[in-house]
């Protein structure tokens, strides 16, 4: 019993069991701390849809609306801009919006213009790479980042390019097209962003 070279098995087992139970309790205690860092109830509740009035939007102009803390762009595309989208077809990585469909492109936007109505583009203005908000480069022509530019958005953070349908160019850091949020037309001049009502 008092031989120091001999391990007292039952005591050793008690130590092991104690350490196990104590360790489990310590890990259990860490859970509430980690969970306290998740979005609070208030942050979760702030996801309500917002309404945008596009009555004043001239052709070729962009309107930015804040939805869930993110910029949502509404661009009234001209005929020229729509033709630019067709021209970009071969340069974009995912022309048919086939990637991550359910997440990025609602059913009604899975067309070449990625919108309900060809005239109006509605996208979340956050680059799919690392979350910068790209800049407007609507004018077609030669640009430093693309010799034969047909109009779209340029993300200066890491050089990603998007056409005027929010489709990402090939061989750029951004992997995906810009996200089309759920939206619906309340009338011809009012868009509800964040909810797609049936029949609109």
């Amino acid at each position: 019993m008092n031989d120091p070279s001999k391990v007292n098995r039952s005591r050793r087992n008690l130590v092991i069991a104690g350490a196990g139970v104590g360790g489990a309790a310590a890990i259990g205690t860490a859970v509430p701390f980690a969970a306290s860092m998740l979005p609070s109830e208030r942050a979760q509740a702030l996801g309500a849809p917002v309404e945008a009035d596009i009555g004043q939007l001239a052709p070729g102009e962009k309107l930015t609306v804040e939805w869930r803390g993110q910029p949502v762009w509404i661009v009234r595309r001209t005929q020229e801009m729509l033709e630019g989208i067709k021209k970009a077809e071969s340069k974009v990585a995912d022309p048919k919006s086939a990637r991550k469909k359910s997440e990025l492109t609602p059913e009604y936007a899975r067309n070449e213009y990625r919108s309900r109505k060809p005239e109006y583009l509605v996208v979340v203005g956050i680059c799919s790479h690392l979350g910068c908000s790209p800049q407007d480069k609507f004018k077609a022509g030669a640009e430093a980042f693309e010799r034969d530019w047909s109009g779209g958005f340029y993300c200066s953070c890491h050089g990603s390019l998007f056409d005027l349908a929010g489709r990402v160019y090939k061989n750029k850091p951004a992997p995906d097209n810009l996200r089309v949020p759920p939206y619906s037309y309340l009338s011809d001049t009012r868009i509800l962003i964040g909810e797609d009502k049936k029949g609109a």
């Binding site: 942050a43 930015t64 803390g69 979350g131 908000s133 980042f145 200066s156 890491h158 061989n171 750029k172």
Partner: protein, 465 residues
Amino acid sequence: MAAAEKQPVTGAGPLNGLLTWVDQRFPLVSTWKEHMSEYYAPKNFNFWYYFGSLALFVLVIQIVTGIFLTMNYKPDAAQAFASVEYIMREVPWGWWIRYMHSTGASFFFICVYLHMFRGMLYGSYRKPRELLWVFGMLIFLCLMAEAFFGYLLPWGQMSYWGAQVIVNLFDAIPIIGPDLAIWIRGDYVVSDATLNRFFAYHVIAVPLALLALVGAHLLALHEVGSSNPDGVEIGKKKDPKTGIPLDGVAMHPYYTVKDTFGVMVFLLVFSIVVFFAPEMGGYFLEHNNFIPADPLKTPQHIAPVWYFTPYYSILRAVTEEFMWVLAAGVIGMAGLIIWSVERAAIKVAVAAAALVLLGGFYALDPKVWGVALMGLSTMIFFLLPWLDRSPVKSIRYKGPITKAALALFVIAFIVLGYLGTETVTEGRTLAAQIGTAVYFLFFFLMPWYSRIDPCLPEPERVTSK
């Protein structure tokens, strides 16, 4: 009792009695001797050996100025920007304390980068100082975290979008990424919740870790003793009578005096920057950060602060086309390792790991690999003690291959750092990709080139003019 056996303290005049009282209850004299008056450091330290003590000095500046900044700063998205401006304009001497803190951040990195470069020059990470180097690297990682969290606090445009980009890096991790990013932010976008928690990390969590690691770094240093520009162990040649290394001098007074001189020169340079160029032309405090954060609009040109730009360039360099270079690199490395090692099990494991990586290159977005490579570029320094197989430690006795490799690495690091501050063009992306390749080849090929490099013999004793 041990207390009664201790010799009374002598030589402190009227304080002898007090110090004796303390010493009998606390290891005062023994600690002082072990770490200062009888800690022997090589006598041939040169210029490069200033930066360890200077980094410690900057840490003190940051802690002191930081405490005073928290007295007026408000970690609230609605008030943060204004509270910093309040400190700058209305708090007496607030501008001075704030500029010391912001300039101190950049000087911290200058000192730490030069301190690390010293380690690379003279092989300070080599056996038995591997753990010392690992502690140092952990300090470096903590310092990067500290700088990143602190940069959000002024809640300017660069604060906001910088945090947005860095937190979104975690979003790239397969499967758990998106939820992890939400957990880090505490919201779906960078918001008040993010600012508030980053404040907690910046003022208490990371500094505690940093101080503990600095303690461990110093304890490890004093356990193994300092290396020196010749890379020879002074402990091998001791005075037979006293047991003191022949090439060693006591930390105090010799190096305490030398380091005090270093601190004075440092303060001169530091003060010039604080008083005359605290923004350093946009490198220390970026111009866009004088605009309050706007979640709807990214500034035209965003770049991290200079000390993060080399890694940021590496992140940007990984495009779809660059994945082929990466794949070729992995195949080449695997071939080289398989050809070099003897054991069949290792050969199989390396081949399997290479196949997994190649599969991953194909299956996952280049974005994921950009993030992975960026992470690796900051972590890879950890491996230096094991990658360097040279028979000598110091650059003084290393051969031309190692010298050229180190020079190329330094050039790549600086070029990547410069490119990271600039916008993207095709030419710059190509330059960043070449820089990235050089950066990693320096480390990955080291086990081979450091071994075949013709080195000079190390001297028996340290050399000095």
